[in-house]
C-alpha cells in the first residue's frame, strides 16, 4: 500500500530577511500615513475623537509591526514544509494553525516561478502551482531549486486522468 510521507523539505533561510524588509516597508508606509493624518488633525483643528482614533490605530500598527517584523517571518520560515513526488504535491505551514494541503500531480494545470525585486536580491523565487482550486504557493525557494522543481512538476503533470467514470 502506498504511504504518503510527511513533507520535510524546507524553504530558504533568506526568506526571513525578505519578509522582514517587505514588512518593514509596509509598516513604515502605514505609520507615515498615520502620523501625517495626526499632524494634519492638530494643524487643521479636527474633531478630537478623530485624532484619538488615528492615534490608537498607529499604536496598534506599531504593535503589529513588532510581530510582523521580528517574530512572524522567523516562525513562518521555520514551520514551512513542502514535498513533491511523482504523485502528489504537499505543503504544510502555519504558526498557530497548521494547514496541510495535498493535491494530486494529475490535477496540476500550470506551474510558474516568479520573483519580485526583493526576492531577486537574495536569489530566490516563489513557485506557484495552479490547480482548479486556489494556486498552491511555495514562497522563497533558492533560484536553482525553484527552476529544477518547476521542470520536475511540469514533467510529472503531463500525466492526466481519464475523465470518464
Amino acid at each position: 500500500m502506498y504511504e504518503l510521507i510527511e513533507p520535510d523539505r524546507r524553504i530558504a533561510e533568506d526568506a526571513v530577511k525578505v519578509w522582514r524588509i517587505s514588512n518593514t516597508i509596509t509598516h513604515l508606509i502605514i505609520a507615515l500615513i498615520g502620523i501625517g493624518l495626526i499632524t494634519a488633525g492638530y494643524y487643521y483643528d479636527w474633531k478630537n475623537w478623530i485624532v484619538i482614533i488615528f492615534f490608537v490605530l498607529v499604536t496598534l500598527d506599531v504593535l503589529f509591526a513588532i510581530w510582523d517584523i521580528f517574530i512572524e517571518p522567523v516562525l513562518t520560515q521555520r514551520y514551512w514544509r513542502y514535498d513533491i513526488n511523482a504523485e502528489f504535491i504537499q505543503i504544510k505551514h502555519g504558526i498557530f494553525k497548521i494547514h496541510h494541503t495535498i493535491a494530486p500531480m494529475t490535477k496540476v494545470q500550470y506551474v510558474t516561478a516568479q520573483q519580485g525585486p526583493l526576492l531577486r536580491r537574495y536569489g530566490l523565487q516563489t513557485l506557484e502551482v495552479g490547480t482548479m482550486n486556489t494556486p498552491i504557493k511555495i514562497p522563497a525557494l533558492p533560484k536553482e531549486e525553484a527552476i529544477a522543481l518547476r521542470g520536475q512538476i511540469a514533467e510529472y503533470a503531463k500525466i492526466k486522468e481519464a475523465e470518464h467514470v
Binding site: K107, N133, A162
Partner: protein
C-alpha cells in the same frame, strides 16, 4: 452539419421584453407618476434622454441580432457576434458537458427555445447561449453534442471522422444504425431513456405547502396597491374597508379565511405550474431533468460530470420526510438556472436512495457511522460565540429593553452547537466519502476520492491539545467546491489522508501529448 444561421427574429422580441422589464421603473417615474404635459423642465429633459436611450437600444438590438450567427463545422460550434468589436467563440462539441433548454411560454408558441451549452472549463468562453432557435434545431444540436460525448467514452478520437459524414437526418429516423456505429454507447433518443421519477398529486400538494410559494402573493398585492394608489385615494377607502372588516368578529374571521384560501390556491397553482410536469430520467451516460407546464426548462448533464451530491433538509422537510437533492457539477454553481440542477426539491426521502443508486452508480449512498469524539463537544462549547457577543452588544446599546432576545439567542446558539455535534457523522471507504452535518438544517455530502482534486487538513493550537483536526475536500467545480468537516480525531484525519492517496487504485491515467 449546420451552416451559418442567425437566431430566430423572436430574439429581438425577447430582447425588447427584457428592455421594457429593465426600464419599467424609469417609465413609471417619467410617464405615470408625472402624467401629462404640465411637468417640470427636468422631467422633460429626462424624457428626451430616455427616448434617445431607447432608440439607441432598439438599434443595438437589431444590429446585434443581425450580426450574431452560429454555425457547426468540423465538430465545433462557432458563435460570431459583437457590436463594435467582432467576437468569435468556438467550442468543440465533445467538450460540452451540460445542456440547458429554457422555453418561456411565448417561445413555446413559436416552437422556439433558448439553448445553453456549457463546458467544464473555468473561463468566460466556456458557455455558449443560443438565445432563440427552433426546437428541432436545438434537438439536432443536443444530439450532435451528446452523441460526440457518448462516443468519446466508448471509443477513441479516431472514429470522429466516420460519424461526421453521417447525415444528421439518420439520427432521428434510424437510431439503431447509430447504436451500431458507436458500439456500446447508444444514441440518446427518447426510447432509451428510463423515467425514474415524476411527482404524484400528493407530492405536489405537500410541495406547495412547503415551498411557501403563496407568500409570492404579498409583493403582487403590494404592487397592485401601489398602482391603485395612483388613481384613487386608496388610503381613505382602505380605512373604510378596515373599519367594515373589524366591526364584527364574524366578518373579520371570514375575511382572514378568505385571504388564506386565496393564498393557498395561489400557492398550489404556482407549484403545479412549476413542478407539475416534472420528470427525472436517465440513460447510460446522462441525466435528464424536465420541468414546467407553461414555461419549460430542461437540463441534461453527463453522469460522469457529477462531482458530488448534496442532500439537504430543513426542519419542515424533515418532518414530512422530504429532501432536496442537488447535483454539484462543473458549470452548475454560477447563475440563475442553478435551481434546475436541484434534482427535485421535495423528493420523498425513501425514494431518494433508490433514485440515486439508479442515477449515479458511481456515487453510492451509504449510512455514515463514525461520530465525533467527546473532545469535539468540549471544544465546540468553549469556542467564542462572536456573533452572539456582537448581537448582544448591539441590543444592549440600542434597545436595552429587548434583553430577553439575548437569552433566546444564547439558547439558539448553544442548542444548535449541541445538535450539530450530535448529528455530525462521517465515513469513507473505497466507494466514496460521506459527511453528514448540521443541527436543525441537515446536509449530507457525498463524493468519491476520484472526484476530489485536493484535500486539506487543518489543526489549530486548541485542536492539537485535544487531539482533533479539520479536514476539507475540494471538488472540481467553478468556483471550486469546498466541503469541511470539523473536529474529527487526528487519527481519523491521518486515515483520511492515507485513504485519499490510495486514489490511484481508482483512476486511469494517460500521458498528455505535448
Amino acid at each position: 452539419m449546420i451552416e451559418i444561421t442567425r437566431m430566430h427574429p423572436m430574439k429581438m422580441i425577447d430582447a425588447l421584453i427584457k428592455l421594457v422589464k429593465d426600464s419599467i421603473f424609469i417609465i413609471i417615474l417619467l410617464f405615470i407618476l408625472n402624467i401629462g404635459s404640465d411637468v417640470s423642465t427636468l422631467i422633460k429633459i429626462f424624457r428626451v434622454v430616455f427616448f434617445i436611450y431607447i432608440t439607441i437600444k432598439l438599434c443595438m438590438i437589431v444590429i446585434e441580432w443581425q450580426r450574431t450567427t452560429y454555425e457547426i463545422k468540423d465538430e465545433t460550434i462557432h458563435i460570431r457576434g459583437g457590436l463594435f468589436q467582432r467576437t468569435h467563440k468556438t467550442i468543440p462539441l465533445y467538450e460540452i458537458q451540460n445542456i440547458t433548454w429554457d422555453t418561456p411560454l411565448y417561445y413555446r408558441m413559436f416552437q422556439l427555445t433558448s439553448l445553453k451549452l456549457e463546458t467544464s472549463a473555468a473561463s468566460d468562453s466556456a458557455t455558449v447561449k443560443l438565445e432563440a432557435i427552433k426546437t428541432d434545431r436545438a434537438q439536432q444540436i443536443e444530439e450532435l453534442a451528446t452523441h460526440f460525448k457518448a462516443q468519446d467514452i466508448s471509443t477513441d478520437t479516431d472514429m470522429h471522422e466516420e460519424v461526421t459524414e453521417a447525415p444528421s437526418q439518420t439520427v432521428n429516423s434510424n437510431p439503431d444504425a447509430y447504436a451500431q456505429l458507436e458500439g456500446t454507447a447508444p444514441i440518446l433518443s427518447e426510447k432509451q431513456r428510463t423515467i425514474h421519477f415524476t411527482p404524484t398529486k400528493k407530492d405536489l400538494i405537500k410541495a406547495s405547502f412547503l415551498s411557501f410559494s403563496f407568500l409570492a402573493l404579498i409583493p403582487l398585492l403590494a404592487v397592485g396597491y401601489q398602482n391603485l394608489e395612483q388613481f384613487i385615494d386608496v388610503d381613505k377607502q382602505a380605512e373604510g374597508v378596515l373599519a367594515f372588516l373589524t366591526q364584527s368578529w364574524i366578518i373579520t374571521t371570514i375575511a382572514i379565511i378568505l385571504l388564506i384560501v386565496i393564498a393557498l390556491v395561489f400557492g398550489i397553482v404556482h407549484t403545479f405550474l412549476k413542478y407539475g410536469k416534472y420528470e427525472i430520467a436517465s440513460d447510460e451516460a446522462r441525466i435528464f431533468i424536465h420541468r414546467g407546464v407553461l414555461s419549460e426548462k430542461a437540463f441534461s448533464i453527463r453522469k460522469a460530470n457529477v462531482q458530488a451530491i448534496q442532500i439537504t433538509q430543513n426542519p419542515l422537510k424533515k418532518l414530512l420526510g422530504l429532501a432536496e437533492i442537488k447535483l454539484i457539477s462543473a458549470g452548475s454553481m454560477d447563475d440563475e438556472s442553478d435551481d434546475v440542477r436541484t434534482l427535485y426539491p421535495f423528493l420523498p426521502i425513501k425514494h431518494a436512495n433508490n433514485l440515486m443508486s439508479a442515477l449515479l452508480p458511481h456515487l453510492p449512498m451509504k449510512e455514515a457511522t463514525e461520530k465525533l469524539p467527546k473532545n469535539a463537544f468540549y471544544l465546540r462549547m468553549i469556542r467564542v460565540p462572536w456573533l452572539l457577543i456582537i448581537a448582544a452588544a448591539l441590543i444592549i446599546w440600542f434597545k436595552s429593553n429587548w434583553w430577553p432576545a439575548i437569552i433566546a439567542l444564547f439558547i439558539v446558539t448553544y442548542a444548535s452547537r449541541l445538535f450539530a455535534y450530535r448529528n455530525t457523522c462521517y465515513i469513507w471507504d473505497e466507494t466514496g466519502i460521506h459527511f453528514k452535518m448540521g443541527g436543525l438544517w441537515t446536509q449530507h455530502f457525498i463524493t468519491n476520492r476520484k472526484k476530489i482534486i485536493e484535500i486539506e487538513i487543518e489543526q489549530s493550537w486548541f485542536q492539537k491539545k485535544l487531539g482533533l483536526a479539520n479536514i476539507t475536500t475540494v471538488n472540481r467545480v467553478k468556483p471550486a467546491h469546498q466541503e469541511s468537516l470539523e473536529d474529527i480525531p487526528i487519527e481519523a484525519a491521518h486515515h483520511f489522508k492515507q485513504w485519499y492517496v490510495q486514489r490511484y487504485n481508482d483512476v486511469e491515467v494517460k500521458i498528455e501529448a505535448d
